[in-house]
Amino acid sequence: MSQIEEKDILEIMGEDLQRALKKPRNQRRWAMAIDLKRCIGCHACTTGCMSENLTPPQIHYRPVKEEEIGEFPNTGMRFLPRPCMQCDSPSCVQVCPVTATWKRDDGLVTIDYKKCIGCRYCLVACPYGARSSDVGHYYTGDMHKETYEVENSGEYGKTFRRKSHWHSPVGNARKCHFCIHRVEKGELTRCTTTCLGHATYFGDINDPQALITKLISKTNVIKYKEELGTKPQVYYIV
């Protein structure tokens, strides 16, 4: 671990990212690792994600759950940040009647905001509660909506203005998308770059040299609700 500490992990992961982007897309496999020993429960990732994706009220792509373990005075805490697991066998994709959500060849589970009929079946089917329904709420009120709320967040690298009816995420399912609009520009996901505990790692696990690949092979790793067969691609280091 100490070797990693010498160089800033953002720097290392940034280099990993550049390498991955040079490969054809179908040879990459994006994944995230979250070190629960390091997560300090600061919720920076939660609000970082909110501000990156301009998510509306009550839609949080990456909440952090706080669980108490044991009884006073033998109490422990577990902080569990939860992005979308980008499952390899995603139950959300399986149930979507119109293939508005699907798994890309790099493993990313995306939603097409122009195809989603808003049936919310995927919300029901996701075992992680990772999906939310954008019902058209705004923070800054109905009379005076701030531009940043109605304009485009650049999710999926596309233009989806919330105020427009046809090209809008309003009425749709939404979830974490591993900041693919950043990643494909060579930027790490926002929750990774803002993590105060240096607990969030991101990269291409098809690359044996990548920091994340080394981490998940060397450390003790669990996957959340793995028994459901969803094959989540978020690795929790415990």
Binding site: I117, G118, R120
Partner: protein, 382 residues
């Protein structure tokens, strides 16, 4: 294809009805249904104009609420009508015959009313064409849509056949098999969701078929009772009493099994069964199933049938809401200010959707009945 006299009443009867309607003599229920339709329509319009966020109480925590449960309810009623038709035809033959066209007609309009409730729920209903453009064969919802369409088509054909006296055994069986598949797929739409333990059960498709039969039959029983009252044809009473008893008994068994499995399972998420056990025993089984059964046993009159049926219809409506919503009681991922148990109360707009659906069914049926649509067929057969 003949429209007037088969799908629609004969022109002159329609005209007659219309003028009596304008004179205010169409009967109080017609006007109530129209009022309901206007209010409900306004409700649905508001949902689309103001947006779901400002009108419905569903959310990411309770993604499905009253609108979906109303859809499920009507879908099941519709399926139930078909079973009633099938069983009536198979076991009670000519005793049942006079009611056949009404039952199938009811099956049709309830299916449509259900669809209206569903459509008002979708974030983007205008994109429903995508069911055809980019279907997903692994989605129970996709299959549900396929079978639902097939179901409505079959119902329509069967209805026309009855109206025109082109009886065919093949169609009768088809009108049994296809709804069975439809309601199994509706059952698996819920039952296959491994993530919501309250739904997750192989029992659910069967449970759906029988609860459907129960609620559909109850609706038909009321129509039958009306027919008995207006025509004095009391031969209709027995078949419906008997069918209702069978339906009640089977749903009782299935509900009980579902409860027992739920309560005894240790899987997390199943605690809902435990927490709602008392409510389920008292309301879900006692009031909803046992009482109507007792009424049927001890009050063998037309009145008894009607009261029992009304209770069943109302109770099954609540049972559908309960089934859909209780699934979300325990939040999947509880964070921040989320309560430990999620509660949900439908908004006025959601209730208006129900009123709209109910009014469609009531209005169309009343018009059809009053304008003698179903008499045409019987007249011809004589």
């Amino acid at each position: 294809m003949q429209i007037y006299g088969v799908l629609l009443p004969e022109k002159n009867r329609l005209k007659e009805w219309f003028s009596s309607f304008r004179q205010g003599k169409a009967g109080i229920f017609v006007y109530l249904a129209i009022l309901g339709l206007i209010l409900g329509g306004a409700g649905i319009a508001s949902i689309f104009i103001l947006g779901h966020g400002h009108t419905t109480n569903t959310s990411s925590l309770v993604p499905w609420g009253l609108q979906i449960s109303t859809y499920v309810y009507f879908a099941l009623v519709s399926g139930g009508c078909i079973f009633t038709n099938f069983i009536g035809n198979m076991f009670f033959h000519e005793k049942y015959q006079p009611l056949a066209s009404r039952v199938i007609f009811m099956g049709l309009i309830t299916a449509i009313a259900g669809f209206a409730a569903l459509a008002s729920e979708l974030g983007h209903v205008e994109r429903m064409y995508l069911f055809m453009v980019s279907p997903n064969p692994s989605s129970p919802m996709f299959w549900m849509s396929v079978w639902y369409t097939a179901d409505i088509t079959i119902l329509l054909i069967e209805y026309i056949n009855i109206q025109r006296h082109h009886h065919s055994k093949g169609m009768l069986y088809a009108s049994f098999i296809i709804p069975v598949i439809t309601y199994c797929s509706l059952g698996s739409l819920f039952g296959a969701v491994g993530t919501v333990p309250y739904y997750y059960s192989s029992l659910l498709p069967i449970y759906f078929i029988f609860s459907g039969f129960l609620s559909g039959n109850a609706l038909c029983a009321i129509i039958a009772a009306w027919q008995i009252r207006s025509t004095g044809n009391s031969r209709l009473l027995k078949p419906f009493q008997r069918m209702q008893r069978i339906a009640l008994a089977s749903v009782l068994v299935l509900t009980f099994c579902r409860l027992i499995i739920g309560v005894s399972s240790g899987i997390s998420g199943y605690e809902v069964f435990r927490e709602t056990l008392l409510k389920n025993l008292l309301l879900g089984i006692g009031v909803s199933l046992v009482i109507p059964f007792l009424i049927l046993m001890y009050k063998r009159s037309v009145g008894g049938l009607v009261i029992s049926s009304l209770i069943v219809l109302a109770a099954q409506f609540m049972a559908r809401l309960d089934l859909v919503v209780e699934g979300f009681r325990v939040p999947t991922f509880r964070v921040y200010d989320m309560p430990e148990r999620i509660s949900y109360m439908p908004s006025i707009f959601e209730i208006l959707v129900v009123i709209a659906s109910l009014s469609i069914v009531a209005l169309v049926y009343l018009i059809a009945e009053k304008t003698g649509l179903f008499e045409i067929a019987t007249k011809e057969s004589r």
